[in-house]
């Protein structure tokens, strides 16, 4: 008389509990007990995983039951190509105990009545093949056989349920005090060390906000962004809790469909997402608008931009080399945040240009390439300086791809800005001068890849670098001394718009 299978005390991805009765409705269920640390478990999942889809269609459900946390289970299963159900159990691994597990992997075949029809321990290709043959008699459809694999057999590892409680607790403890290494093991990083997002730190970041509140789905993997997950990204990035409203506004702007984060996240271009901060919040957070404004040194500037990028990389699944296909990338993809120096600027801040009051705290998102420095210490007229700034952008994106329709961002340093102030140049005048300055005959642009407009135009027709003055964004920031401005080339082909969002009022 076959032994009855014990009820399952496991948790899966779906809110509905995984029950034995539910898993055997097709006639058979394969339960594969595994552990993340066990190489034989990985081998078994890799060999059987691709078959699970067909087996489940034929009537045998397949469930990998991990002796690990659910998030670890899901990532491990995905890495091993396991296409069946994924479940986890918490210490003291009661389901493993109920099934009398000594080692993992252990496979159990359960029939439609809930009786155990067979068990295989370790990786044993022949024995697993026989188990699946047996299962074929229980299901309506025939099951694809287990294909030959090397090695034919491999012993597994001890089940955590078989360890004494003290040893099991030691194994499950967070990396023996080395939490930073554990973050790397979990993949909760952009490649740099992070601050572990403990419940306490995330609660402080939320500061009483509802962590379950939903902000949307983050492309490209469309991970659901709760406020708690965003707070976890902010903690990982190193943000202080008072930065969080700015991070939230940046996330809201990034998730606006008009920004097309999907395209920006997966493109082979290098572009990152520049966060521009305007308003009094810059001072409340001690953001750097001055010396080294685009570089290292200021916690708020660096961590706000990094929190947004961690949201894209982790919650959104755009890790370089997986869904992020950027050929080279650039360091701004670690974090890219600038606070405008509104006090030094001769012009209205970017946020005011975009319809907000100067008293409002606003973030604005722009897709941007890495900064290219523009040195000019000798110009004595605003025309000369504007010409130099504009022509520095001539080779951004491509030497021949004219005109650019997406925004190019110029960060004007205070000494350069002072020249325009002294001569009464408005922002719009500078923008229109720069737009008009950079133009070349179509024949000179007909090299390699160029635009349809260049191809279609008369060879002598003048083609401009930008499609309109509005494709030029002007910001002011940087140290008081030194005549170095910068241009940040565009993210093109995305059909996106610059998006601004107000920071939640205090």
């Amino acid at each position: 008389m076959p032994e009855r299978a014990a009820p399952l005390q496991i948790s899966g991805i779906d809110p509905e509990p995984l029950t034995l009765a539910g898993l055997v409705t097709g006639g058979a269920a394969l339960l594969l007990f595994v552990s993340e640390e066990c190489p034989t478990c990985a081998l078994t999942m890799r060999n059987l995983g691709p078959l699970c889809g067909a087996w489940q269609q034929a009537g045998m459900s397949c469930t990998a039951i991990f002796e690990d946390p659910l998030d670890v289970a899901i990532r491990t299963a995905r890495r091993c190509g396991w296409t069946g159900h994924v479940a986890a159990q918490a210490p003291p691994y009661q389901t493993s105990r109920d099934y009398g597990l000594i080692s993992v992997p252990s496979a159990f075949l359960i029939d439609g009545s809930g009786a155990i029809q067979g068990q295989v321990t370790g990786w044993d290709q022949a024995a697993l093949g026989r188990l699946v043959e047996h299962a074929s008699a229980l299901t309506a459809g025939a099951l694809r056989p287990v294909p030959p694999a090397q090695p034919p057999t491999k012993p597994g590892c001890s089940s955590k349920a078989a360890l004494d409680p003290e040893l099991a607790a030691a194994i499950d403890a967070p990396a023996a005090g080395d939490e930073l290494e554990e973050m790397f093991e979990r993949g909760w990083t952009d490649g740099l060390p992070v601050v572990p997002p403990t419940t306490e730190r995330v609660d402080k970041m939320l500061s009483g906000r509802d962590g379950a509140a939903l902000l949307g789905s983050v492309p490209p993997a469309m991970g659901e962004l709760t406020l708690a997950r965003l707070a976890a990204c902010a903690v990982l990035a190193g943000c202080r809790p008072e930065y969080f409203p700015v991070v939230v506004a940046a996330a809201q702007a990034a998730l606006d469909p008009a920004f097309n984060l999907h395209g920006q996240a997966v493109t082979t271009q290098p572009a990152g997402q520049l966060v521009v901060v305007n308003g009094p919040v810059r001072h409340r957070l001690n953001m750097n608008t001055g010396m080294g404004a685009l570089g290292p040194g200021n916690r708020a500037n660096l961590t706000i931009g990094r929190a947004l990028r961690l949201m894209v990389t982790l919650t959104g699944g755009a890790m370089p080399g997986t869904l992020d296909r950027s050929t080279l990338g650039h360091m701004g993809k670690v974090g890219f945040c600038i606070a405008e120096d509104e006090e030094v600027s001769p012009w209205e801040p970017l946020s005011v240009e975009r319809g907000f009051a100067a008293s409002q705290d606003v973030v604005t998102l722009i897709g941007c390439d890495a900064p290219q420095s523009i040195s000019d210490h000798r110009s004595r007229t605003p025309e000369d300086l504007a010409w130099t700034l504009a022509w520095a952008a001539a080779s951004t994106w491509s030497t021949n791809w004219w005109p650019l329709t997406e925004p190019s961002v110029f960060v004007i340093c205070p000494e350069h800005a002072a020249m325009f102030r002294e001569h009464g140049w408005s922002k719009q005048r500078l923008r229109e001068f720069m737009f008009a300055a950079v133009r070349r005959p179509a024949r000179e642009l007909r090299r390699g890849e160029t635009t349809p407009l260049v191809h279609q135009s008369d060879p002598a027709a003048e083609i401009r670098k930008w499609s309109s003055p509005e494709a030029i964004v002007l910001l002011v920031a940087g140290g008081a001394a030194g005549r170095y401005s910068a241009v940040l080339g565009p993210c093109t082909g995305m059909g996106y718009q610059i998006v601004s969002a107000e920071v939640e009022p205090r």
């Binding site: 998030d71 190509g81 296409t83 499950d172 909760w188 419940t199 082909g493």
Partner: protein
């Protein structure tokens, strides 16, 4: 152990789905040629279309609004409803 940490991941993201079954022959099948609007993608599809017709398939052309956004659901539904197979011209 997860207790004590808040994950930045949405762990409900599903694993990869298995590929659809591949047809043994193209003869008599309706094949959609999807132009995602990458530079010169249409030229590539023109050539593929000739080969598909030579193989006995009927062809249908569809165009995405822009290459850098996911296809509209209406377009996906239309392709799934009216085609046995689809060829996507991915890049320039």
């Amino acid at each position: 152990m997860t207790a004590g940490y808040v994950s930045p991941f949405d762990d409900r993201v599903n694993p990869d789905q298995p590929l659809a079954p591949r047809p043994a022959s193209l003869a008599g099948l309706s094949v959609t040629l999807l132009d995602i609007r990458k530079n010169r993608g249409a030229e590539f599809l023109d050539r593929i279309e000739v080969l598909l017709r030579d193989a006995g398939a009927s062809t249908h052309r569809a165009v995405k609004e822009i290459f850098s956004r996911p296809a509209a659901l209406d377009l996906v539904d239309d392709v799934a409803t009216h085609s046995h197979a689809v060829v996507e011209a991915l890049a320039d």
